[in-house]
Symmetry: D2
Subunit: 135 residues, 4 copies
DNA sequence: TTTT
DNA sequence: TTTT
């Protein structure tokens, strides 16, 4: 009836972009969300799977990479499925409605180097990726 | 770094109360959280596992039952473990910090009948179960 | 950049419905949100103004009344204005995107008596008021 | 009964630190929270007052300054009071339970220059300021 | 100004 | 009154 989750964390790797048979873009990535740990090094994290659709999926795939800091707002979805060994499994994933970029892409984090001349410009706006931005 | 989830849903069954070896109470239950479905009957839900500790665990175990409507606030925790067939699994559960009762216990929902003369009084207060209430 | 508020509380009075010059419906009401108070009677509350637009506005105006329990999700908006004495004031209000009914209308709370034969049916569904419901 | 707000925004100025007569630290600051605006420059913001207590107050006062990006979690509180002209006013403020630093202090933003050799170390941890950190 |  |  009500299902709202808000996360801040860092991507563990580049988003993976696919398309449904009907052409809808879907992006998946994992967020490392540090637990508020004590200070003596036992820094733990929850690794939370994120799914996002449509334009937001494309923006994430184009502009996010490993290590980037984002805020995600969405809902927690539990899916039940059978893996390819026929084992019944449950998948938990956050369906993101908004993904907000909280840091700039550093050189080292860019996905392969050239070609993203406008990335910094976008990232510096720190606006919601599902705004009516020109992607 | 930041991990906050808020759910409103109904318990699918009575909470299960256990104690850790050191005596800490832990309660587990599952929440059916309806997705905002269309109207032609395809009412779906996410079934989300909730864990709660200490006094909140005891209050939930004592006063909640199948069908009760609650609001839960907490954080999403992902645990990796091996089941008793030796299969690697991931468990997603919400560690509840607050559980708020949103309806009264109906007669039919009371957990076995006698003994809870004060339940309705409590439930009608609709206060946070981890308030300094007299349990 | 990110602004999300979630409230559960009771309406202090019936919503007030107006229309902008261009015909857009706007409803306003106030929510009494109890603070998690101690138990010796000093029950305090925050009285928080809610604004909602479009179809949600009309549904709230038609189906909510004084005392009803709702969950509201939206964003906090701060407006600066001059009152009719020319005094500069700041208004804080929550722009609600979703309003969820958490209890049923009791007879005494119905807004004027007859005519709402379907209210209980709706309220009992506890669905989001901005679903594609037939209002 | 339930009152939770989550904000991400930038400080409009340095926090102001005071102490109650009994010695409790209180810090106040204002957050500029951009609305998700269109792109043609009409970038608007809500200016939201934040209050925080105890150790969090001291950490904010010591380590935050104008322009810093933070995430705040707390509850919305509405207070009614009379100003020094005897005019009845309402104040809306967010009582922050956690304040999370989302960027590093830049040289230009440090509050007066020397003395905070450890600031970057702290800020880079991006941990909750009310963790059991040694302040 | 206020709800249960 | 305001931040980037």
């Amino acid at each position: 009836m009500f299902n709202r989750i808000i996360l801040i964390g860092r991507l563990t790797r580049e988003p993976e972009l696919r398309y449904t048979p009907s052409g809808t873009p879907v992006a998946k990535f994992t967020l490392a969300v540090d637990r508020r740990a004590g200070r003596q090094g036992e820094r733990e994290a929850d690794f939370i799977d994120i799914v996002t659709w449509q334009k937001t999926a494309e923006v994430c795939a184009n502009y996010l990479g490993k290590g980037r800091l984002v805020a995600v707002e969405g809902r927690l979805q539990i899916r039940s499925y059978e893996d390819n060994q026929g084992i019944r499994r449950k998948a938990a994933e956050v369906v993101a409605e908004t993904v907000k970029f909280l840091d700039r892409a550093k050189e080292a984090q860019q996905q392969g180097g050239g070609g993203f001349g406008s990335e910094d410009d976008f990232a510096s706006e720190i606006s919601f990726v599902d705004d009516d931005t020109p992607f």
